[in-house]
């Protein structure tokens, strides 16, 4: 293998969206030069970890999140630049460096692409950082010009002194500014909302040109000179072990194939865990099984050799696992074993005294988030250093994996973030990083890119948990709900009891039980909308079943349960709970009016309504949204989703066009989830493998969409996941309204076909 020669071309293919790294250098063993990475311009002056000002007065902003399609390469610069006062058209951006984040005490605040959290958590800190930097630049200019700071104004990358007409570019004072004392972030002055120039504007995404010309360098596109390529396959069963490999079976194949054994491991957790908290509540352990990789001169050669490789697996303890059988076990647990987690009033006697009771069992299958770009990661280990190039949604942990696995000090591990072709939660599990580093360790001195096939991605993913739920509720003689109970059992999962307990449609008597099975065979993973996606449609489905017993009208029935007086007087944060119920009422009323709930509908048409938020616990702020879904159901033509109306109150909106796109995309994601998605397991192996048996909604089935964003001056709230749970919930009730079946499990297409 030749020594790798680093060229700029190797690093910079998409000018806009390159890997992070203006401020540090990469040295590869055997390279005489220390090569700057990746920017062609001089390093520039760094201000407060967030901003780099270059000699040509261009400005680079650090984006502390991986771009996975949610638009952070545009929205975060909008927030930062708002207070920094720079010329938008000359801005550059780069992804943050996880090592910097770690060594500077989490300076980037929130770096995992998780919980639709970026705008919410970064809105204040980015504006304050922008204002701090602006203040430092002004101070430096004041010293240079010998005028008071108040006479100076920052406009488009320069400091102006009106009285004298003098003007200093940011670049000319950047070095002096870097030496200024750092202003207190709490006291820097931020603009009034009405004066904002960038936040709240539908600015086109900064990466749109690169995207439409095929010029974004995603993880899969990254390449270095001298690179070798790996394909890998984990044990086909969960918990299986590698017994032996017949390496001879591929030794004469082209591309110098080399076999690497990858050890199964606990990779880490799939999200950041706040200090002192129980990791098993906040996240889930990420485990991966033994795997075999083949490394070759091209990926196709590696994949072909891997396909030909004779591997002997010990199928392990779950060789007979069947998801259909397991669901029966979970249904039993939901009926009997699940421990009570929340209770109010007296559910038992309320049920005993009810004029009518109703019970029903619901379930949710395993699912794979399935972003379009298959999992991949590039890695290079040599000379006591490790580099990885990844589009992980959790780069901080990718960095930890890199240095701990290679056994070097943290400062010898370098993570270069690249954009991702979608994430939807899948890339929060860093199994592919762990695998790539293990491969690179076996190929020291050679950069290696690991790429998994779609089949491998579907069969060895991290799955939304299989879930069974049992509801029971009671009505009084007047058709009022007096008691609501739900008991849930799921496979391996993060703590997701909020899916049932946080449903705000609660009469005075409630009881919730929840059990999860941490050692069930399939590993858990985050999937867009998480526990709310799994549960909200069940909650609304059963609520609708109850309503049909009463003959009451949908909005009126919903309103009767959104009653603040039902909230127990003695609970903690009662005011937050009351506000939450009121937000639901507000969105309900808005949707009914703007979403034309009462408009006439023809035969075979159905309409469903749902309201929800993604508030995991009382103090967790969330947007609130409502969906109205219209469907037609026809013997011949089957189901058609005709229209989805979605209203959202998400606080201050950073970029309405991006919000619109995210919600529209969320609706499509909801429809795929509800109509098509199901992972089944027989004999320990996932039965699906690609988009023919794990289908994704296509253009022909995409409904017309109307989106309403409510004006607000509150802080920004979640967007990315938010359309998913309410859309599914409204859909299942619309199908029942159209005369279709009551859906108590998914996917819909399979049920309608049976």
């Amino acid at each position: 293998m030749k020594e790798p020669v680093l060229t700029r071309r190797g690093f910079v293919t998409g000018a806009l969206v390159t890997a992070a790294g203006v401020s540090f250098t990469l040295s590869l063993a055997g390279c005489k030069d220390r090569t700057k990475l990746p920017d062609d311009s001089e390093p520039g002056v760094e201000l407060l970890s967030w901003v780099v000002i270059h000699r040509d007065n261009s400005v680079t902003l650090r984006v502390p999140q991986t771009e996975i399609g949610q638009g952070v390469l545009t929205t975060i610069p909008q927030m930062l630049a708002e207070e920094l006062e720079v010329d938008w058209s000359t801005l550059k951006s780069e992804f943050y460096d996880p090592a910097v984040n770690a060594t500077r005490g989490n300076v980037y605040v929130w770096t995992a692409v998780l919980s639709s959290h970026s705008a919410q958590t970064l809105f204040e800190p980015t504006q304050r950082a922008g204002a701090q930097v602006r203040t430092m630049l002004i101070r430096a200019a004041a010293a240079r010009l010998k005028v008071p700071e108040v006479e100076l104004e920052a406009v488009k990358g320069a400091i102006h002194h009106k009285a004298s007409g003098k003007k200093l570019s940011y670049a000319s004072v950047a070095e002096a500014a870097a030496k200024m004392p750092i202003p207190d972030p709490k006291t820097v002055k931020l603009k009034d909302a009405a004066d904002r120039q960038l936040v709240g504007k539908a600015i086109p995404r900064r990466d749109v040109d690169a995207a439409i010309h095929g010029k974004i360098t995603y993880g899969i596109d990254f390449e270095l000179p001298g690179m070798r390529f790996a394909a890998a396959r984990q044990s086909p069963t969960f918990g299986g072990k590698l017994r032996s490999i017949d390496k001879g079976s591929i030794k004469d194949m082209p591309g110098n194939p080399k076999v690497v054994e990858i050890k199964g491991a606990k990779v880490g957790y799939n999200g950041p865990v706040p200090e002192g908290e129980d990791p098993d509540v906040w996240a889930a352990p990420v485990k991966m099984d033994d795997a075999v990789a083949v490394v070759a001169d091209s990926w196709w050669q590696a994949k072909t050799a891997l396909d030909a490789l004779a591997i002997d697996w010990d199928a392990g303890p779950h060789a007979k696992f069947s998801s259909a059988e397991y669901l029966k076990t979970l249904a039993n647990q939901a009926r009997s074993d699940a421990p009570v987690v929340v209770e109010a009033g007296d559910a038992r006697s309320a049920l005993a005294n009810a004029a009518k009771t109703l019970s029903a069992e619901y379930s949710y299958p395993y699912m794979d988030p399935a972003p379009l770009e298959p999992m991949n990661c590039s890695a290079y280990v040599d000379g006591g250093e490790v580099h990885i190039w990844t589009n992980s949604q959790f780069p901080d942990d990718a960095w930890r994996i890199a240095h701990s696995l290679v056994g070097v000090s943290p400062d010898k591990a370098h993570v270069h973030i690249l954009p991702a072709g979608g994430g939807f939660g899948r890339r929060l599990q860093n199994d592919f990083v762990h695998q790539a580093v293990q491969i690179a360790l076996a190929c020291k001195g050679t950069p290696v890119k690991l790429l998994l096939t779609r089949e491998e991605c579907v069969r060895k993913s991290y799955y939304a948990p299989i879930t069974a739920a049992r509801f029971e509720a009671g009505l009084d003689g007047a058709g009022n709900v007096t008691v609501w109970t739900c008991s849930v059992a799921s496979g391996t999962s993060a703590e997701q009891s909020y899916g049932e307990t946080r449903f705000p449609f609660q009469p005075p008597n409630v009881r919730f039980a929840y059990k999860r099975n941490p050692d069930s065979p399939l590993p858990f993973g985050w999937m867009r909308g998480v526990g709310f996606t799994q549960h909200l449609w069940m909650n609304f489905g059963f609520l609708d079943e109850l309503r049909l017993l009463t003959g009451r009208d949908v909005p009126e029935f919903y309103r009767s349960l959104l009653d603040p007086s039902y909230i127990p007087a003695d609970i903690e944060d009662r005011d937050i709970a009351v506000a939450r119920v009121k937000n639901h009422l507000k969105l309900l009323d808005f949707a009914i009016q703007k979403g034309r709930w009462h408009a006439p509908k023809g035969r075979g048409r159905g309409r469903g309504l749902a309201v929800g938020d993604t508030s995991y616990y009382p103090s967790y702020p969330s947007s609130t949204k409502a969906a109205i879904v219209d469907v037609s159901l026809d013997e011949q033509a089957g189901l058609r989703v005709d229209h989805v109306f979605l209203a959202i109150d998400a606080g201050t909106v950073i970029n309405p066009d991006i919000v619109h796109a995210q919600l529209e995309g969320g609706i499509a994601y909801a429809l795929t989830t509800a109509l098509h998605s199901e992972i089944t397991v027989e004999n320990g192996q996932v039965q699906q493998s690609n988009f023919h048996d794990y289908p994704i909604l296509k253009l022909d089935r995409m409904p017309a969409v109307t989106i309403e964003i409510l004006p607000s001056t509150e802080p920004p709230a979640s967007i990315g996941e938010d359309a998913v749970p309410v859309t599914i919930a409204a859909l299942v009730n619309a199908i029942a309204d159209a005369g279709g079946p009551r859906l108590r499990t998914l996917p819909v297409a399979k049920i309608l076909a049976s």
Binding site: D207, G214, L699
Partner: protein, 153 residues
């Protein structure tokens, strides 16, 4: 030795003719704009034009492509931006962007055959997967490219 013409440039390649065109474009020729999504002809992320027709290059061997004129996203609208790309920008279609090169190639070939399609024809004619769900903007961009009367270029 096998000869293919890609974006107007002829290449003589020493490759196994069974290798899918996708991997030759991406890895032998360094044209990374053409994407891998499924490897089984199911998603269209790898769509290119072979003698003007949309082809899913992951399920099309380089041997089959020998002697043909291939256009990848890098060569679409070689001298100036293709009207479909202009319509895409105008409609702000991409989210993650990963499906978009294939989607644009599919749309351009579709419009060449049917310069003023109905919505139903668009729905039936463009069958690529966008996991981010940009479909309504795709539909809008195709309509506007068609209306500009230049989409069929």
């Amino acid at each position: 030795m096998l000869e293919i013409e890609v974006n107007g440039t002829k290449h003589r390649l020493d490759v196994d003719p069974a290798v899918p065109l996708l991997w030759v474009l991406r890895d032998s020729l360094g044209l990374k704009g053409t994407k891998f999504g499924c490897g089984a002809g199911l998603c269209g992320a790898c769509t290119v034009h072979v003698d003007g027709a949309a082809v899913r290059s992951c399920a099309y061997s380089v041997g089959q492509a020998a002697g043909s004129k291939i256009t990848s996203i890098e060569g679409l609208g070689a001298s100036s931006e293709h009207p479909v790309q202009a319509a895409w920008r105008e409609a702000g279609v991409p989210q993650c962007g990963y499906c978009q090169p294939g989607m644009i190639m599919a749309a351009a070939a579709f419009l060449r055959n049917n310069p003023s399609p109905s919505d139903e024809e668009i729905a039936q004619g463009v069958t690529n997967i966008c996991r981010c769900g940009t479909y309504n903007r795709i539909r809008k961009a195709i309509r506007s490219a068609a209306q500009s009367g230049r989409g069929g270029q």
